[in-house]
Each structure stands twice: as structure tokens, then as C-alpha cells.
């Protein structure tokens, strides 16, 4: 799955007129589930506000979750959430979705929805009344507009980008980003066996013991990363330069590599490799003076191009 830039004009607050809802019933008694459907009936007619109960996460703006989260539906919830395009809002409908309620202590129940997703709106009730569900949707709509404004402002906030060392705590976020970026690569080479796509969280955590991880952060989110380690006494190997596709062609890669290099003061020579078609990855290195040294075939469609550069004055 690839995500591309949020686009669109100014002016009217479009989300207020057309909030599309995705409804998922996690577990519990189905009471809230029925009330959500009730609010769509002609009596409460939430569609008059432009609401569409879409069954497709890729078309949805608001994620209405009823019921508590358990070990089985946790994955479903995460998947649905991941597939929703930004800006998106999560609303927990009813007390089970809010806290787990009487099911809270059950052996398989994780608790409310906020144990696995960032919940924005809590709608009280057991079961939640259609009136309060509609009220919750209207609050969610306000948040959609706010999030949209925030995302737009993110584009102007590249100046505030912070680049620094990442810790093992950042591993899940960096791994998620790595998978997004390498999905692009996999498509480019038609090779879905790329190691970065298969890396596990455990494996990446282990990498933190031996490698230096650098991260680029904008607005609290990691949008780029690179890692490096010493090979022998004088050579540093820089690898896996990843930048979220939103933020390509803004010089972030170059800054990440520079920061990584500065973590190896003893290195006289820096090395890296990329795929032969990955121009966006080569570019930052070439700008910093890396020269191609050799090329070798690793699979049918993919060659590895090795780049290296000697430290100035070394």
C-alpha cells in the first residue's frame, strides 16, 4: 500500500458536508451496533448530514467502533485503521468501546478501543443512544477539519524537522516506515523477497545494539531514517536510507546521511549500496560525493550498485 500527498484546495469545509463512516463491531452485546444502524434509518436519518455508511475503509473518514477489543479482533481493527486515508478520526461508541466496561477483566479482552487505536471521540451510553451517536459524529467532523488543517500546516513545517539518534523505542515506527518505503522498491523491481520487507521487530531491536540509527522527525512523526555501522577499523557502512514518499525531493535524505556520517568520527571511508533503479536513494549519496565503485547482480531484475567516498583530508 502506498500513500501519496494530501491535495486539494482551500475554502469550504468539505468534511462537514460529507463525513463517510466505517462501522466495525468489535465484540460485546451488539446493542451499540444496532443503535449505529438505527441512526441511519429514516427516523434519525443521519444521511441528511451527508453521512454515508461505507463498508470500505479506503473510502472512510470516521471509524465508528462498538464493543471492546479482544485478542482476536485486534488485528482486524489495526488493519481497518491502517487502510483509512488521512485525515481520519476514530470514535469509540458506547461504554465497552470506551473502557471495556464489565468485560474489562475478561481473560481475552484488552479493554477499550484506545488500547489499540488513537481514539478521538468517546460516545457514552449502554447502549449509546442514536442522538449521542449523531452528536459524536458531528464532533468527529470538527476534528476532521482540524486534522486536515494540521496536515496542511505540516507541509510548511519542514524547517522544524529534527534529525538525531533514534533509540530502540523508535523501532516499531521505523519498521513501519521501512515497510512503506520498501513496498515501493519491491514494486519497482518486481521482487517481494526484499529483506527489509521481511524484517521483524525483534530483529530490528537487535540491530539497535550494533548499529547507529538516525531519525528525521516532523510534528512528532518519524518520516525518515538511516542506519550505519563500522566495517573493520576505518570504514563505515551506511544503509537503508528511507524517507516517507510524502517527503521526497526535499533534501531530507542528504541530511540524514550527513548526520549518520558524523556519528563515525574514526571512519576514513564511507560505503553504501542501492538498487540500480533506485535513483531517489542514489541522489543524496551522489550529492555528498559518493562514487559508484562496482555493480553486482543479486536477483533477476535487481543489481546492487556499491557507492563509496573517502573523508575529505583523509
Amino acid at each position: 500500500m502506498t500513500r501519496s500527498t494530501v491535495s486539494g484546495g482551500e475554502g469550504m469545509q468539505a468534511f462537514k458536508k460529507s463525513p463517510w463512516v466505517l462501522h466495525y463491531d468489535a465484540s460485546s452485546c451488539n446493542g451499540c451496533d444496532i443503535e449505529v444502524v438505527a441512526s441511519l434509518t429514516p427516523l434519525y436519518d443521519v444521511e441528511r448530514l451527508g453521512v454515508v455508511n461505507t463498508g470500505n475503509p479506503k473510502h472512510a473518514d470516521i471509524f465508528l467502533v462498538t464493543g471492546s477489543v479482544n485478542a482476536q479482533n485486534l488485528k482486524v481493527l489495526r488493519t481497518l485503521y491502517e487502510q483509512m486515508p488521512e485525515p481520519r478520526v476514530v470514535a469509540a461508541v458506547g461504554i465497552c468501546a470506551t473502557s471495556g466496561c464489565v468485560f474489562r477483566e475478561c481473560y481475552n479482552v484488552m479493554g477499550g478501543v484506545d488500547t489499540v487505536l488513537p481514539v478521538d471521540v468517546y460516545i457514552p451510553g449502554c447502549a449509546a443512544r442514536p442522538e449521542s451517536i449523531i452528536d459524536g459524529i458531528l464532533q468527529a467532523v470538527e476534528l476532521l477539519e482540524k486534522k486536515r488543517a494540521y496536515m496542511k500546516s505540516m507541509h510548511g513545517r519542514m524547517k522544524d524537522m529534527a534529525i538525531g539518534r533514534a533509540t530502540a523505542l523508535d523501532a516499531p515506527e521505523i519498521l513501519a516506515l521501512q515497510k512503506i518505503v520498501y513496498q515501493n522498491e519491491a514494486e519497482m523491481y518486481d521482487d517481494w523477497s526484499l529483506a527489509p520487507l521481511k524484517q521483524t521487530l525483534q530483529d530490528m531491536r537487535k540491530d539497535f545494539e550494533t548499529r547507529v540509527f538516525i531519525k528525521a522527525v516532523v510534528g512528532g512523526k518519524i518520516i525518515g531514517s538511516v542506519r550505519g555501522y563500522m566495517v573493520g577499523e576505518t570504514t563505515a557502512h551506511i544503509s537503508r536510507l528511507i524517507v516517507h514518499p510524502y517527503f521526497w525531493k526535499q533534501g531530507i535524505g542528504t541530511r540524514l546521511v550527513q548526520e549518520a556520517e558524523s556519528n563515525f568520527p574514526r571512519a576514513a571511508r564511507f560505503e553504501t549500496f542501492t538498487g540500480q533503479k533506485s535513483r531517489h536513494t542514489m541522489e543524496p549519496y551522489q550529492r555528498l560525493g559518493y562514487m559508484p565503485v562496482r555493480q553486482e547482480k543479486v536477483s533477476e531484475h535487481r543489481d546492487r550498485v556499491y557507492f563509496a567516498r573517502n573523508r575529505e583530508g583523509a
Binding site: M1, T2, R3, S4, T5, V6, S7, G8, G9, M12, A14, F15, K17, S18, W20, P42, L43, D45, E47, R48, L49, G50, V52, N53, T54, G55, N56, K58, H59, D61, Q83, P85, E86, P87, R148, E187
Partner: protein, 252 residues
């Protein structure tokens, strides 16, 4: 229609305005590429039709556009959009004969495939081609993807194929599909109006009535299986379409 207030009339425009402000998620970047072509060809179709171009070329461009949407859905390689794409192809095979027969019928009466000539014909086509007209209204339900023939992209995504052909499209791309759909609707309603072109006011009323009818039918009927849809379309085309043309041909 359903004794409730319902969404405002401008709702489709609000939806599209919102979709343009959403993030566009794709499975493969190339899938959007096909949708751009779909959009361009639909606009081309509309321009061709309303500037009075060749009716056959219009129909061909419309078909080509739909093919691009189908390719986009195939490219997205999700089971839902895949089945949606397959069903769209079946639907196209179902309605295409009737569309062509309508064009042939219009030619038989006006001796021209040029939209402008057909529109300027002093004869009220629907009087000579009532079978073709009724048949065309039936396949309109196919073309506008309404129940009972909304096999390829169910209106609400709670059924077996989620949103069918549009399942994997979001944000700006989905907005383009929506806009293209408006063009599609306008062009096919324009063809309906062509049956009444001798009396412009009647043409406008007819297009409006037919559009209302299609929406009413959409709300009343459940979806049918593809076998039945195909049979319905071809039997209509064979009986009403071919029958009408034979009558016109021999009685002329």
C-alpha cells in the same frame, strides 16, 4: 422518495470536494494512471457527443473509457476490485449490443451517424423507434450501475464485493471516478434526449423522467446474478432492438 429528509441535492458535489482533500492510498501507483485515462476519455466522449460529432465514435470512446477503468481495477489486484472488474466486463458485453442497435436504428431513420444531423432531424425518433428507446432505458440501468444491475460496483459497500470496481481507489482518484460518472450520466441521458430531439422541451422532460425512473428502479430492486443480467440485456436487445429495426427496415 423514502419519506425522510435525506442528504441535500448538492451532496455529490460535497462528496467530491471532500475526496479531493483526502489522502490517496493505492496498492500500486500505476492503478491511478488508468483512472486518469478513464477520465480523459469520458470527457472526450462528452465533448464529442455534445459538439454533435459521430455517434459511433462517441460510443467507441465511451467503451474505451470504461475499459481503462476496468484495467485500473485489475491493476489494483484486490479480490474485490478484481471481481468488480470482471463483472464490469460482463456488463459491458451485456449492454453494448443494445447501444449499437440504438445507433443503427437512428441511422435507419435519419440516414446519418452524426449526432448533429440526428438532432436536427424533423422526425420524432421515438415514434419510429419505440422498441429501441425502451431497450435503451433498460440498459441505462446497466450503464449507470444501478440495481438490479449494479453487479460491478454496489452502491453501498456492505455486500459481497465491498465497493467492487472502485474498492481500491480513494481520495483524488475516487473523486475523478465520481466526476467521470457525472459525464457518463450526462452523455447517456443525452442519448435518451436524442430520441426526442425534434421537440427540445420534450427531450429535456424525457431525460429527466428517465433519470428519475432509473433512480426509482435502483431503490426498488435487489441485485440480480450476472447470468440473469446478461440474459435480460440480450433478450431485450434481441426482442425490442432487433425487432424494432426489422420493422423499420421492411416498412420503410
Amino acid at each position: 422518495m423514502q419519506s425522510r429528509r435525506g442528504p441535500p441535492l448538492l451532496q455529490p458535489f460535497y462528496d467530491v470536494a471532500k475526496l479531493f482533500r483526502k489522502e490517496t492510498i493505492v496498492v500500486r501507483r500505476s492503478q491511478n494512471f488508468y483512472v486518469y485515462f478513464f477520465f480523459v476519455f469520458i470527457v472526450f466522449t462528452a465533448v464529442l457527443f455534445f459538439t454533435g460529432g459521430d455517434l459511433l465514435l462517441t460510443i467507441f470512446a465511451l467503451t474505451l473509457a470504461s475499459i481503462f477503468l476496468v484495467l485500473g481495477a485489475y491493476k489494483a489486484s484486490s479480490p474485490y476490485s478484481f471481481i468488480g472488474a470482471e463483472r464490469e466486463l460482463i456488463l459491458m458485453m451485456a449492454y453494448e449490443p443494445m447501444v449499437l442497435l440504438a445507433a443503427v436504428g437512428m441511422y435507419l431513420v435519419t440516414r446519418s451517424f452524426i449526432v448533429l444531423d440526428i438532432a436536427r432531424s424533423p422526425r420524432l425518433l421515438v415514434l419510429t423507434l419505440p422498441g429501441l428507446f425502451v431497450g435503451f432505458v433498460v440498459i441505462l440501468v446497466f450503464k449507470l450501475r444501478k440495481s438490479p444491475f449494479d453487479l460491478s460496483a454496489s452502491h453501498h459497500a456492505h455486500q459481497e464485493i465491498v465497493r467492487g470496481i472502485t474498492t481500491e481507489f480513494s481520495g483524488r482518484t475516487l473523486a475523478l471516478i465520481e466526476i467521470a460518472h457525472w459525464y457518463e450520466t450526462t452523455v447517456v441521458l443525452g442519448m435518451v434526449a436524442l430520441f426526442f430531439a425534434a421537440l427540445p422541451w420534450l427531450a429535456a422532460v424525457a431525460a429527466g423522467v428517465v433519470f428519475f425512473l432509473v433512480i426509482l428502479v435502483d431503490n426498488v430492486f435487489a441485485r440480480v446474478k450476472w447470468q440473469l443480467a446478461l440474459a435480460a440485456a440480450w433478450i431485450t436487445a434481441a426482442a425490442l432492438g432487433v425487432g424494432n429495426i426489422l420493422v423499420v427496415f421492411f416498412l420503410r
